[in-house]
Amino acid sequence: MSHQVRIKQFEGPLELLLSLIEGRKLDITQVSLAEVADQYLERLTSERESISLSNLSEFLVIAARLILIKSKMLLPVLTFTDEEEESMEDLEIRLIEYKRFKDASETMAKMFLSGRRTYPREKFLGAPETFSPPKGLSADVLLRHYLSVLGDIPAKEAVVEEIIEEVLSLEDRIASLQESLRDRAEYGFRELIAVAENRMEVIVSFLAVLELAKQRLIIVSQGGMFGDIRIAAGAKRSEES
């Protein structure tokens, strides 16, 4: 796969998002975020394997926010809760802030290379070394301190169950959607999300639907402005069966 070339290019979702916006020479606004939403999701899917587990959930959260922003742009009649409105605005603010720090870090890197730096003087330079141990120093005291150092060494990264769970929910959703499409040719989005326990799940479902539509595993249609979104098995799946 060609995506190997891009591995490690982006450490985080904000970096990716910023590069997409800057690549199109846009300012950071809700409109430009909506414009790059698809590209972001594409990259997220194609580079899924190169994203570290501890960062993947943040990639997905940003994806969910982008989907919200995009649906708002596409369907202005949709109403959003205060919480959703806030999360959309929050992404814009965060991205602007991230950009400022990214720029600042580049300036700092240049300062490192500028050759303008200061040097400190070694403590008590030239003063004689005099044997002056602290009171109470013993082999056991050293043992205690050494054990404390060993105890502070971080254990090899433990697998973090919580993250895995969070990350798996997206992929589970895609899998179970595919599963149910085998049984029924059509499926309503509302029906699909009826069992959702919170908004995040709804968003993840929607993300899954978009993803499958992109892969042409399903066909999405909507009967009128307020109609339910209908999902049908796509051409690709039919060919396979």
Binding site: P13, E15, I62, R94, K102, A104, R117, F124
Partner: protein
């Protein structure tokens, strides 16, 4: 305080800074010289002024309550040749970003850094501590968490005398959305997750 005493305090501060080499706290200077804190301030101001002159080869770095005497930044290349054991600092993009957040936002917790960068910063933070570019200390608001501050070494490498000399410090050091920031700042670490990823659900 009369002028002679001020001059003499400045002279003694300079002697002690020269001897001590490493950063020293203003309290310790005041105690060593048995003078009030504002005499130390006055003495340091006098020294700063002196070091601004073109024939000076010295400079001061101030960070919080600590002060350090160092060589003049413009003389770096002449001085360099005389020193051993000074490796180039080459830092990756991610580490530089983390360093910038710590430099401008100090004291700052890991969860706040993660929130700004949108990624987990523990690896970068560890790397920066190893290189002595940042330091960590317990967060006074939450004992389970650390907060990070730049080190004197960072200021030495950047050739600056204080945080305020960082480009656009005034703008970047304060959070545009302070209420949000405050809540994330004091929030306890939520494991590796980091960042305000929970506020959507």
């Amino acid at each position: 305080m009369n002028v002679n005493t001020s001059l003499s305090v400045a002279s003694k501060i300079e002697s002690l800074l020269f001897l001590h080499g490493e950063p020293i706290s203003l309290e310790r200077l005041a105690k060593a010289l048995s003078v009030a804190a504002d005499s130390i301030d006055e003495g340091l101001a006098m020294l700063s002024e002196k070091y601004a002159a073109p024939e000076s080869g010295l400079a001061l770095i101030r960070k919080g309550n600590d002060v350090e005497l160092v060589t003049r930044p413009e003389n770096a290349s002449e001085v360099e040749s005389m020193l051993v054991d000074d490796r180039e600092e080459t830092l990756g993009k991610a580490t530089m970003e983390t360093l910038a957040v710590v430099a401008y936002r100090a004291p700052v917790t890991r969860s706040s850094i993660d929130a700004i960068r949108g990624v987990n910063s523990s690896f970068s933070l560890r790397n920066l501590q190893l290189r002595g570019l940042i330091e960590r200390r317990p967060n006074p608001l939450d004992a389970r968490e650390y907060e990070y501050v730049p080190s004197f070494r960072l200021f030495e490498l950047l050739g600056i005398g204080s945080s305020e000399e960082l480009p656009e410090y005034a703008e970047l050091s304060r959070d545009a959305r302070l209420p949000v920031h405050e809540s994330t700042e004091s929030a306890p670490e939520t494991g590796v997750k980091g960042g305000p990823s929970d506020d959507i659900a």
